[in-house]
């Protein structure tokens, strides 16, 4: 899927699968499809940021909040059509991402992650500080209805699932184009070796800021979808746990892999529901049930990074290679490197040598 027609073809196939699943399966599945489709753009944006440009963000939940609140405010006060609200939300989040990203461009890994973590902690408190605009703890209700031409019997959840799935697919296709474009190559060059990239004429700072803006925009789109799917935006939905869940999804799926973003989103949406069901059916209290997935995210983040850094997509790719042999060559060949390989590792070698 390295050429545009193949990418579009794949997108159409995914869309068809979603549509069939949505019609054949019940309302609850529609709700789950919508839930997964909401996460996909955010996870895909984060996987691009971390896997391709080597930056890490713990604040993408905050960008989702910006997108969600923008959409809610536009739908509530101006009664805009959703698509317009979505575009404006993406633009607003992109602007916010640019502001943080300009600071981020000067920050090496730990500073960036810390600054974005701070953003994730601080931003929801704005909703409490300005309850007149953002509705405080209660948040804002989002008005979203299925359009009239679908008929009165068309279920709202199905419409929500379709809209989110379409938006998610379009976002991922656009990201895939970026991935294989000059911009994507620049990101990978910067990730692998900043100095070498700069010597090759890549504007390192610009590449880093752009990656950050793209990732923030994707999170904003996801936040906008979340607003229409849940019908509510409230500060409690955009905590640090959300940001870390996004990171977990990107890591589980395989950092830097767009299909991996789908696998990761599936896991973080379906597994907590499943675990909570099992826990409550075994008579465990709801606080235990809701905390098991959190602990599991932590354990999985650690284990995947220590044992299996390529994630699910890496595993699938290995399976495929097992059957077909390493046939791919040239441009199609290498799986996207999950982590900055030699270059960056060498840069800080002197700090690490002692520990080996």
């Amino acid at each position: 899927m390295h050429t545009l027609p193949r990418r579009l073809g794949l997108a159409v196939v995914v869309a068809a699968v979603v549509a069939i699943a949505s019609i054949k399966l019940g309302t609850f599945r529609d709700y789950q499809i919508a839930g997964i489709a909401v996460e996909v753009p955010a996870v895909a944006g984060l996987t691009v940021l971390t896997g391709l440009s080597g930056q890490i963000s713990l604040g993408n939940g905050a960008f989702m909040a910006i997108g969600g609140y923008t959409t809610a405010l536009l739908l509530l006060h101006l009664s805009w059509p959703f698509i317009a609200a979505l575009v404006i939300s993406a633009a607003v989040t992109a602007a916010a991402g640019a502001i943080v990203g300009v600071a981020a461009a000067r920050l090496r890994g730990p500073y960036l992650a810390g600054a974005t973590l701070m953003l994730g902690v601080a931003l929801p408190s704005l909703a409490y500080a300005k309850p007149g605009i953002f509705g405080g703890d209660q948040g804002l209700n989002v008005l979203f209805t299925a359009p009239g031409f679908l008929g009165a019997t068309f279920p709202l959840t199905r419409w929500q699932a379709w809209v989110s799935a379409i938006v998610a697919i379009v976002t991922v296709v656009l990201l895939a184009n970026l991935y294989y474009s000059r911009i994507g190559r620049n990101w990978r060059a910067v990730r692998d070796d900043e100095v070498a990239a700069a010597l090759d004429g890549v504007n390192v700072a610009r590449a880093r800021v752009l990656a950050f803006v793209v990732s923030a925009t994707c999170a904003g789109i996801a936040g906008s979808l979340l607003a229409i799917v849940t019908g509510l935006v409230a500060p409690g939905a955009f905590t640090i746990t959300l940001s870390i869940a996004l990171l977990t999804a990107a890591v589980i799926g395989g950092l830097g892999s767009l299909p991996g973003a789908l696998w990761g989103s599936l896991v973080i949406v379906l597994v907590p529901t499943y675990v909570t069901d099992v826990a409550t059916s075994h008579g465990l209290s709801s606080s235990v049930g809701s905390n098991i997935p959190v602990a599991a995210y932590g354990a999985v983040l650690i284990l995947v990074m220590l044992v299996f850094p390529q994630g699910i997509q890496g595993g699938l790719r290995r399976l495929v290679t097992l059957f077909t042999g390493p046939a791919r060559t040239g441009r199609n060949a290498p799986a996207p490197h999950v982590m900055p390989p030699a270059g960056e590792a060498r840069a800080s070698q002197h700090e690490k040598e002692g520990t080996s």
Binding site: T50, G109, M118, V195, N291, A296, G354
Partner: protein, 292 residues
């Protein structure tokens, strides 16, 4: 004027707690160039240990001592089991592992203790001290908080400066390869660094929890303030970490007092971004290092 004095004093007290967190981050950063995002989670967890011990023995000081010991053990164990294996991998892996540690500990605390807010006892009276009839806005316990962090910092500083173990740690932090060539067991030194960081984090958790309550996420905000303090001071400088903690504590106390407590974390974010834009190396960094 009295208000101003009160805000300043209580800002200094909170600043000392941020300084303790900042110091624990600096300790690990100097040794391994890794920011430990799990630090707040570790502090939260050891404070739950303290609650458990206080509840069973009825003695605050038993809980205090056990929590500090738990901090040392937890720090060392984490370094040995999950951090050491990442040292041969790209730096991003270690960062993600510490984030995993944070959320693992928060999840475990949620499973064992639930999400509700728990009150945590203070060692001394928390009624405000007065000079004559003027309330100072700080209590006997607040004085203890400041004194405990100050004493720990001074002891650690002296140990780093005057003992052989301290010299080894400084050497390992300065240049791991050369330290190892000189016969220092750098890996062991790094474990000790994590253990000390665990101790400082545990201390911060014990000292802050009487005023913030304890719940699985209770240290998130304290951690980001500690991180901000460390960045203000420059992640490399222990003195800077303390100064950064005090500056941030006092600044946020004014914001909380005069403008409203909802704004403190937003202002802290603003301070962090401004410092990073103007002096990315921190206000107290002596040399500018270009990492290549």
């Amino acid at each position: 004027m009295v208000e101003f004095l009160q805000f300043t004093l209580s800002g200094i007290v909170f600043g000392m707690i941020y300084a303790a967190v900042a110091l624990s981050l600096v300790l690990i950063w100097r040794g391994t160039r890794l920011l430990n995002y799990g630090q707040g989670g570790m502090a939260m967890f050891t404070t739950y240990v303290a609650i458990e011990v206080v509840y069973r023995t009825g003695s605050y000081w038993a809980g205090f001592a056990v929590a500090l010991a738990a901090g040392v053990v937890l720090g060392a164990i984490c370094q040995l089991i999950i951090i050491r294996p990442t040292m041969s991998k790209p730096p991003l892996n270690a960062v993600i592992v510490t984030i995993g540690l944070l959320i693992l500990l928060e999840g475990l605390a949620g499973i064992f203790y639930g999400g509700q807010y728990r009150s945590f006892p203070a060692a001394f009276s928390i009624t405000g001290l007065k000079v004559g009839t003027t309330p100072l806005g700080v209590s006997r316990f607040d004085v203890f908080v400041a004194a405990a962090v100050l004493a720990t910092t001074l002891v650690l500083g002296a140990a780093f400066k005057y003992t052989n173990a301290g010299l080894r740690m400084r050497a390992a932090a300065f240049n791991g390869t050369i330290a190892r060539l000189s016969g220092i067991r750098v890996a062991r030194v790094l474990t000790v660094g994590w253990a000390l960081a665990g101790l400082l984090g545990a201390l911060a958790g014990l000292l802050v929890s009487p005023s913030t309550f304890l719940y699985p996420n209770s240290m998130d905000t304290i951690f980001v303030f500690g991180f901000t303090a460390a960045v203000i001071g420059g992640l490399d400088s222990p003195v800077g970490a303390v100064a950064g903690g005090l500056l941030l504590g006092v600044a946020l106390s004014y914001v909380g007092g005069y403008l409203g407590s909802d704004l403190t974390s937003l202002v802290a974010l603003g301070i962090l971004v401004v410092v990073l834009m103007i002096r990315p190396g921190g206000l107290f960094s002596a040399v500018r290092v270009r990492q290549v």
